[in-house]
Amino acid sequence: MDTTIESYMLLSSVIFVIGAIGFLVRRNVLVQLMSIELMLNSVNLLLVSFNRLHTGNMVGQAFAFFIIAVAAAEVAVGLAIVLQLYRLRGAVNSDDATTLRH
């Protein structure tokens, strides 16, 4: 492995961890959605940079396109759910979502 690949790996790991921490720490649902996008994009970065190691095929880059497409569909459903909650509650804070407690 040459150093460039390792620095890409480091970068995407850092982005992934930032996304995961953002998801767990922030309570605004929209920010949590953005954090998930950050995690998915770090995976894209990782896949595309790994593709340089495996030059025989374009699997890594093709995979990244699939992730982008599916993430778009996922966000569409996610925003619909957030909108529904906002209409009912007037807020998009996941701490307020406490109706369901035992």
Binding site: M9, F16, G19, A20, F23, V29, Q32, L33, I36, M39, L40, S42, V43, L46, L47, F50, L53, H54, G56, N57, V59, G60, A62, F63, F66, I67, V70, A73, E74, V77, G78, A80, I81, V82, Q84, L85, L88, R89, S94, A97, T99, L100, H102
Partner: protein, 513 residues
């Protein structure tokens, strides 16, 4: 070519049927006059036609089950053309077994929803195409032999379920349940993707068999260099999969999502989504991480999974016993059942025979749990739902048929002979003992006894208590569809419990080798 169509017939039947149903929903005339309700509110075309759309959906899903059964009889190995879609979709007996069980369970849920949605005035036609496409995703997930198709199938299944949970649009609980499941489901998917990207970097493959082979070939310095990445990838993959099957400590979303969702959706999540989750767990662990070094007890995933199984069983049973809501109790019970099935998965890492036990268990559990949620929704009508144990008090005297149905499926979930639930637990623990995992088998047995407590508690309320004066009394709804679905489920639960040999021989052929 025709053989390829035959091999993919369950998936094609669902895809085509789902699209036709969507057209029927969009272009059919609404039930209300001029597309308005009696209050003048504009409704969309599918509204008010839940019963007929649900019946069509059930027919499509049962047709998928029939196609799967015939594909089983023909034998996927006698259709060489199906290798054209490999490794993205692998049509083997494992896939066909899951295709049957997922379609069958989906058909039961469609029948239940056809009665439940009109009764509770959430009669929205889009539920049924979502149900079919989600089941399609579940089958593709069981068939997926490549991380790419695995991810797409997982999202196809999950996106449909998110929408099915949030169906009750004016109810904050429904929206909240959908939000929780959506956020944690996407979070878990991101973990699985990161693990997949790491595996691609290490091996250069995204197909599970290629990953497994490439890991097996690693030796010496190359192995030392990459062992860390493989370890991280294995752990991240396990975290993502544990979220999907709701194993403790990754179960936080499950009770809330199960409770807030409309009851047919809850049955769908507990039965279908969990079965598909286990299918992909088995395929990933035994194909991609099936190398003897990663599957060993000393340096691999089996001890991690065993620990998950033990925590899952104890924590879920402890929590289930403390619930006042029966629906929430069933949610925790479904987490506990994931723990029992995990015992079988751990046993399968030592001897391939145990995987058949897991498949047997999953089939019996899926039918029993869908039956239990079906009986629970039968017990309540709009405004008079059966929610807590108190609501069930005296049900055995007032409505013996409903109480009998609830008791029957609870007894199967508790694992009392002669139901399929008993033989499921029996085969799983037997498999664990066969490979000398005595500790796990004993923990499982202890937990089955603890688990019987909260099912019997419901029976005690139904047959030995009288409702308190002034308390709201649950009124059963009247629906032939619910009775039909429960009768089909009961026949399977009892039939597979009385003569388990046929099912046992089926699952022993269906296991991955």
């Amino acid at each position: 070519m025709i053989n390829l169509f035959l091999g993919l017939s369950p998936i094609l039947a669902l895809g085509l049927g789902g699209m036709l149903l969507m057209l029927a929903e969009a272009f059919g005339s609404p039930a209300g006059a001029e597309g308005r309700t009696h209050t003048g509110e504009v409704v969309d075309a599918g509204a008010g036609r839940g019963t007929e759309l649900g019946l069509i959906a059930a027919v499509i899903l049962f047709a998928g089950a029939v196609f799967s059964a015939s594909l089983w009889l023909v034998g996927p190995e006698s259709l060489p053309e199906v290798s054209k879609v490999a490794p993205y979709l692998i049509i083997d007996r494992f896939t066909v077994f899951f295709a049957f069980s997922l379609c069958f369970g989906g058909g039961l849920v469609a029948l239940l929803a056809a009665a439940y949605l009109p009764e509770h005035k959430i009669d929205r036609g889009e539920f049924f195409p979502l149900l079919i496409f989600s089941t399609l995703g579940a089958i593709a997930l069981a068939a997926a032999g490549d991380l790419l198709s695995l991810f797409v199938a997982l999202e196809t299944m999950s996106l449909g379920v998110y929408a099915m949970i949030g169906l009750r649009r004016t109810n904050p609980r429904s929206a909240e349940a959908a939000l929780k499941y959506f956020l944690l489901g996407s979070f878990a998917a991101a973990f699985m993707l990161f693990a997949g990207a790491l595996l691609y970097g290490v091996t250069g493959h995204t197909d599970l068999a290629g990953i497994g082979a490439a890991i097996g070939e690693l030796k010496g310095a190359a192995l030392d260099e990459r062992a860390g990445m493989i370890l991280v990838a294995t752990m991240l993959m396990l975290v993502g999969l544990a979220f999907k099957i709701s194993a403790v400590p990754f179960h936080m979303w499950a009770p809330d999502a199960y409770e807030g969702a409309p009851t047919p959706t809850t049955g769908y999540m507990a039965g279908i989504v969990k079965s598909a989750g286990f299918a992909v767990l088995l395929r990933v662990l035994f194909v991609a991480f099936g190398d003897t070094r990663i599957m060993s007890w000393g340096s691999g995933w089996p001890p991690v999974l065993a620990a998950l199984a033990v925590i899952t069983m104890f924590a879920a049973n402890a929590m289930a016993g403390r619930q006042e809501s029966v629906k929430r109790m069933l949610a925790y019970s479904s987490i506990a059942h994931a723990g029992y099935a995990l015992v079988g998965v751990v046993a399968a890492s030592r001897g391939a025979e145990a995987m058949g036990a897991v498949l047997f268990y999953l089939f019996g559990y899926a039918v029993s749990t869908i039956g239990a949620f079906g009986a629970l929704l039968w017990a309540g009508r709009r405004g008079l739902e059966a929610v807590s144990y108190e609501d069930l008090a005296g049900l055995g005297r007032r409505h013996p048929a409903v109480a009998l149905a609830l008791s029957f499926f609870f007894v199967s979930l508790a694992g009392v002979p002669p139901t399929v639930g008993f033989f499921g637990k029996f085969t799983v623990f037997q498999a664990a003992i066969d490979v000398e995992l005595y500790g796990l088998a004993v923990v499982g047995l202890i937990n089955s006894v603890i688990g019987a407590y909260y099912y019997l508690k419901a029976l005690v309320y139904m047959y030995m208590r009288e409702p308190r004066t002034g308390a709201p009394i649950a009124q059963p709804m009247e629906s032939g569809l619910v009775i039909a679905a429960l009768a089909i489920a009961a026949v399977v639960v009892l039939g597979a419990g009385l003569c388990p040999d046929q099912l046992l021989s089926v699952v022993s052929q269906a296991k991955l080798n």
